[in-house]
């Protein structure tokens, strides 16, 4: 018997039991759709977490002062002023730290900015030209602070996009910060980040100017931002910074270090691990749904074999071989699951379009989970169809004919 005849026979028999066939298909349909949607949601959230953290700079290291110890009581990280401008200058030395691309010492304070009659309170960051690279930011208008601005303590400022619009200021505007006049030389590109702090509401001025005007001439810095030359050299950049600081601070044991170096990539890998675990969890629940659907197919096929004993007997009497019947029942199961799989893919793709609009949940549907879900649904049909089919093939024709 040809495969075409077998498929046609199988289809005719499935259409003869329309309601049952549809209900069986539903199990596979929802399983496949669930796999596609959950993996899609997982992929979307992983991508969003990755891009949010990456926008902070994946090759970024932050050096913060270690905890000051007062009479043996730790006062918490960042309480001692152990980092200085000379540390930053040392780290910027290419021969000592070849893998560090940019260095940005940072001081920060909250100040009031005035442009004409408009005033706005924001974070004023004192830093150098390395800040742009080390913070993974760009300038949309004008230019950024130069090394010359830092060495001459120039009164220039670069504003975040939101700060600029709140102050109604642009390149060339004169704003006063804590009563001191500054000229705006640039505006930063909006970061679009919706992190814990608003990355677009800030003003950047040369660090030397900030130390002199707002911090009483102190040489200490709050933290040093470091940018490795690439994400791959982050590890060696870390080692170089660590060794150099231990050496200049005359500390023999790394355990006694009076500073800490943290990286964004450690945060990133943790976040990625969390989303991967969540995706795996969701996908496995969906896979169980698919498995249950497969067992449903087997159940229906077994019922079908029992119910159609007399039909099987007759088919054998008129010349169906065991292999003909085996193939017919496997084909029926495969058609059921393939139909369920294809409809499931369609529903999954539809849900990928509808859910983001209705519920604001992002779904990234990629080809791989769709292909896998479809392949699994067909495999489920073949695997769970084999046992009922072999029962049909093994039925003795006279036994089968005797059943009424």
């Amino acid at each position: 018997m040809s495969w075409y005849s077998i498929l046609a026979t199988g289809m005719r028999s499935l259409l003869g039991h329309r309601l049952r066939s549809i209900l069986t298909t539903l199990g596979i349909l929802f399983g496949v759709a669930a796999v596609i949607c959950t993996v899609g949601i997982g992929e979307a959230s992983a991508a969003s977490v990755t891009s949010r953290i990456a926008s902070l700079g994946t090759n970024l290291l932050t050096v913060t002062p270690g905890a000051a110890t007062s009479s043996g009581v730790s006062q918490g990280a960042g309480t001692s002023g152990t980092l200085t401008m000379s540390d930053a200058e040392g780290l910027a030395d290419r021969s000592d730290a070849p893998d560090i691309q940019a260095v940005a010492p940072v001081v920060e304070g909250s100040e009031t900015l005035i442009n004409g009659s408009t005033n706005w309170s924001t974070t004023v960051t004192g830093s150098g030209p390395g800040w742009l690279l080390a913070s993974a930011r760009t300038v949309s208008e004008g230019s950024f602070i130069t090394a010359h601005d830092v060495s001459t303590q120039a009164h220039v400022a670069v504003l975040g996009s939101e700060t600029a619009s709140e102050l109604d200021a642009g390149v060339g505007s004169n704003v006063t910060v804590d009563g001191v006049p500054f000229q705006v030389v640039g505006v930063l590109t909006s970061s679009g980040s919706t992190g814990f702090t608003d990355e677009d509401d800030l003003a950047v001025v040369p660090i030397t100017t900030a130390q002199d005007d707002f911090f009483g001439g102190s040489e200490t810095v709050e933290r040093i931002l470091l940018s490795a030359s690439s994400p791959a050299t982050l590890g060696s950049a870390y080692e170089e910074a660590n060794d150099l600081l231990l050496q200049t601070h005359h500390i023999a044991s790394p355990a006694d270090a009076d500073f800490q170096i943290t990286s964004q990539s450690s945060v990133l890998s943790t976040a990625q691990a969390v989303t991967q675990t969540l995706t795996a969890l969701l996908a496995s629940v969906a896979a169980i749904a698919l498995l249950v659907g497969g067992i449903g197919v087997m159940n229906i096929m077994l019922v079908s074999v029992t119910e159609r004993t007399s039909e099987i007997g007759l088919r054998k009497a008129v010349g169906a071989t065991p292999s003909d019947l085996f193939r017919q029942f496997v084909a029926e199961a495969a058609v059921l699951t393939l139909a369920g799989g294809l409809l499931g893919v369609a529903i999954g793709l539809l849900a990928g379009l509808v859910i983001p609009r209705l519920f604001g949940i992002a779904i990234d549907i990629t080809a791989l989970p769709v292909a896998i879900a479809l392949a699994v649904s067909i495999a489920v049909g073949l695997v769970f169809g084999v046992y009922p089919a072999s029962r049909a093939a093994r039925l003795a024709p006279i036994e089968a004919l005797r059943t009424e």
């Binding site: 009497a317 008129v318 071989t321 006279i398």
Partner: protein, 225 residues
């Protein structure tokens, strides 16, 4: 005339050694091409088992069965299926039509397993032979008992088999329908087909030239008219 069926000391035993039932005991029988034979007997006489063996639906426990010159006693299930498909047409007491298929689809069934082209034409031709050319798209439940049995006969005919094996073909029919079915079988015999009818209906046995009587698994009498 050549011999189509030759049974030699054929026995069929069911069950295990301690509770053995010998349904057919040492039966020897030969049927020539073109014959019309009735196998009669009460229920439990072994005539159904004999019919299963003759129809290659079952194999004998001992003895040899030569069908159209081939010893089929040791055939595999797949080869038996092929013999049934090409050489034997069955007519059953319960018709055994598939309820969801139309008359012509039911008749087409053996051709489906044989393969080949022009199946619909051949099925329609067979339905015409049994006088149901105007019922080809009807489903079994839209046909009378007699019509259903005629569809079954068309299905038996469609492959142009060497042997038509009818198991109580009139058992579920009223007397008018019985008569129609019987006439049809007689006509097929007249056309040269070999027909074996298993029956306990004396009216059926009466019209055949040869009658084989069975009791307790053995042939007890044979009559020729």
């Amino acid at each position: 005339m050549a011999e189509l069926i030759q049974l030699e000391k054929v026995s069929k035993t069911y069950g295990r050694a301690d509770a053995e039932v010998q349904a057919v005991k040492d039966v020897s029988l030969s049927v020539e091409e073109g014959e019309l034979v009735a196998v009669t007997g009460a229920s439990g006489s072994g005539k159904s088992t004999l019919m299963h063996i003759l129809g290659c639906l079952d194999v004998p426990t001992s003895g040899t069965y030569t069908f159209a010159g081939e010893d089929v006693s040791e055939f595999s299930e797949a080869r038996l299926a092929q013999v049934r498909n090409r050489r034997i047409g069955f007519v059953f007491q319960q018709f055994h039509l598939l309820p969801r298929l139309s008359a012509w689809r039911n008749v087409e069934l053996p051709l489906l397993y044989a393969g080949g082209r022009g199946r619909r034409e051949r099925a329609l031709g067979a339905l015409e032979q049994v006088g149901l050319a105007n019922r080809v798209e009807h489903r079994p439940n839209e046909l009378s008992g007699g019509q259903q049995q005629r569809v079954a006969i068309a299905r038996a005919l469609v492959t142009e088999p060497d042997l038509i094996l009818a198991d109580e073909p009139t058992g579920n029919l009223d007397s008018t329908s019985s008569r129609e079915v019987l006439d049809l079988l007689l006509r097929l015999h007249g056309d040269g087909h070999t027909v074996v009818v298993i029956t306990h209906d004396p009216d059926v046995a009466r019209v055949t030239r040869r009658e084989v009587q069975m009791r307790d698994g053995e042939i007890v009498a044979e009559r020729k008219r």
